[in-house]
Symmetry: none
């Protein structure tokens, strides 16, 4: 086992290599890499490259060679299961010019797992799980049968971990991150801080703060992370003096906050729904929804936030006119005169939801999400939204385009944005 | 614009390159790659490598160089937003030894988008979005401002797409996949056919059809595409005689259908919700939901299907006990005696929804989605589901685990599965 050299080079960059055909054919979304990147980021190690490859010796060795050129820390996950570990571990051993040796402690552990699960016979293929790289520090895996391995060579750190998410996380948290933390004391710091904006497009936003962005010092970068109806901004700074970094970065962030005031929803790294749930809970006020074209999507997004039951009373999804009348008390006159997709109807829906659910606010939606159902005066994409507040009800008509899914998403965001504007 | 060469080499392998610091620092999970891989897989193009890199010219060019060595099709996503596209597009242009030219059709489209959203002035930086690689076929983006681009060179196909998932999907479905499909025509034929199963796990399913799978000829492959509560099977076959391919593949598919009868939901490539909407519409019957822990997620998923308004009348999301009583007529006695999370309560909720919305069927859910709210007798993950049908109401209790999002997803699938079983 290599000992950590106190004068070791600073570990600044990392590369993640994930192995598995299930990643390459799209059966499984690679969530491991984002998790690893976040946790390395907390140690100020920046991931510069993420690669998914197949379980072939040549691909594994080529990926390791390229990663070793690019990064100081290389984390490889997957390919260590009982059916496939021979090939992966042998390929890695060849890469390092070393051999595999049987580790008796690991073998006893693997046998123990089979005994505990009540299976008498451990399949022969599992014996191979106790074979480890001769040059590695074994990372004991308390939660599975495949051990991890760590190798240090030429001031580079390699970790080989199973791909099963909870085993990978266990080994990262209990073995790899503590090792990296110990190796890292004299490093540079990286500071990230966020802003969430709604109601302004990415390019308008960039234009409004262009002069501030121009004055950013080279050690601060600003990233725009857009989604439908919102843009998240991320300031990243890097240097040796954490107090200085934080203070300079926050002063630029503050300039942006002042410039964009009306569009700023949060100065933390949270979702819009979380901001709303928090704001309602703190103010002790409550919300309900009356949804036609969004079909419950606003309600579903709000209630996906833990603790939403504190401020959310319920939703009425009223697809039929009958339900609009029966449940929310929309008048037949309004429906006949103005139609289901009208500002008058959504106003009555919002006020009905407020009354029926006994809430302080209510959002109502009605529209033609598509792909069919459009008319000449109300084409697909026509959406009316109302928000009933404490003293007034606001309604607005939108003209989106053709895609049903996107129209629903846009309507959800527009409804939440109107609500947010009324709350302010 | 390059024309497709009728004698072009067969496109067999692909590499996906995703650009973005938000992927490398773990803020965003790369879901695009899995989606692209699945859709290329359906054209029998295997992804051999997935890479995430930062928005730096050197990284972009190096990734393209390596991908071009390894794969026939290279899909690059991200880095095309208005604030950043100069650097990415310029880097790609340099890689191809070409220049950027202003495309007037794209410019008119981008200006049109700004006009339609009611903003008078398009920011100057958006003009750059109309600059495209001089050697590229422009992939018009109906749903956003960043155009995609396709380049063919030395029998390799490159596509450059925005990273925003719905824009990427639009361009893949409407531009890239049809082009790739067309390039395949004079080659070999690829035939894909699907089965959708619910209520059986992947490994049990594989075990049940192992003997059939063993007899598949080498030109037919079977892929298992599992999601929560369902497994999609894809048969892919490749050869020069389409009639023969279709007939042989369908005969194997038929064997699997007969073996798995009770679990088969569809023999087409459709979603479970689409199957249900179709089945209800065809039978002329109607559905409503009464949702507590799912918060409208069942309703939102059903109504995301075009035409759902034919069979779906509405939903009552009743988070509070008061709303359960007021809107659905659940009795105070039941709530007091058995609690909100009980089979008695969900039965009354389902029957209430059936009555209030005047439907033939209704699904009701109530549970402790987490992370808090659990008790000793009803820990987090306890969920009760009822389905009221024409003549009876069935209720069932489930014990899921700790994650709120997954518990909600599992509940949605379990509710739809019980409904499906009652319909059969």
């Amino acid at each position: 086992m290599n000992k950590i050299d106190n004068n070791a080079a600073v570990l600044r960059t990392a590369e993640i290599i994930t192995i598995g055909d299930e990643l390459l054919n799209g059966q499984v979304v690679d969530t491991n890499s984002a998790w690893i990147a976040q946790h390395l980021g907390a140690l100020h190690i920046s991931v510069v490259h993420i690669t998914s490859i197949s379980d072939k010796p040549k691909a594994i060795q080529e990926a390791l060679r390229q990663a070793e050129e690019r990064a100081d820390v290389i984390i490889m996950t997957g390919g260590l299961g009982p059916t496939r570990d021979d090939i992966t571990k042998a390929a890695v051993a060849a890469y390092f010019g070393t051999t595999l040796i049987r580790n008796e402690t690991v073998l006893a552990h693997v046998e123990g797992i089979f005994r505990r699960t009540g299976r008498k016979h451990m399949p022969a293929m599992n014996i191979g799980q106790a074979d480890v790289l001769a040059n590695a520090t074994v990372l004991f895996n308390d939660v599975g049968t495949a051990p991890g391995m760590a190798v240090e060579r030429n001031d580079k750190y390699f970790a080989f971990l199973p791909g099963v998410p909870f085993e990978m996380k266990f080994l990262m948290e209990n073995r790899v991150l503590p090792m990296l933390h110990g190796m890292h004391k004299n490093d540079v710091f990286v500071y990230n801080t966020y802003l969430l904006t709604v109601g302004i497009g990415e390019s308008h936003l960039a234009q409004q703060i262009a002069d501030i962005e121009d004055t950013l010092p080279p050690f601060i970068t600003l990233a725009y992370l857009p989604r439908i109806g919102m843009v998240r901004l991320r300031f990243t700074s890097e240097g040796t003096d954490m107090a200085y970094l934080t203070s300079v970065t926050n002063s630029f962030k503050q300039q942006v906050v002042e410039r964009l005031k009306e569009y700023i929803v949060s100065v933390d790294n949270v979702s819009f729904e979380e901001v709303l749930v928090q704001a309602f809970t703190t103010a002790g006020i409550t919300l309900s929804t009356a949804e036609s074209c969004t079909g419950g999507a606003i309600s579903a997004q709000i209630t996906a936030v833990p603790g939403a039951s504190q401020m959310f009373h319920g939703a009425a999804v009223v697809y039929s006119n009958q339900a609009k009348m029966d449940i929310l008390g929309v008048s037949l006159d309004t429906l006949t005169q103005y139609g289901a997709v009208s500002e008058c109807t959504v106003k009555e829906m919002a006020e009905g939801a407020k009354r029926v659910f006994g809430t302080d606010y209510a959002i109502a939606t009605s529209g033609i999400a598509g792909p069919s159902g459009g008319t000449e005066t109300k084409p697909v994409g026509t959406v009316c939204i109302a928000v009933a507040g404490k003293s007034e009800t606001k309604a607005q008509t939108f003209h989106f385009k053709n895609d049903r899914t996107i129209n629903i998403e846009r309507t959800v965001m527009a409804g939440l944005t109107i609500l947010w504007d009324m709350l302010k």
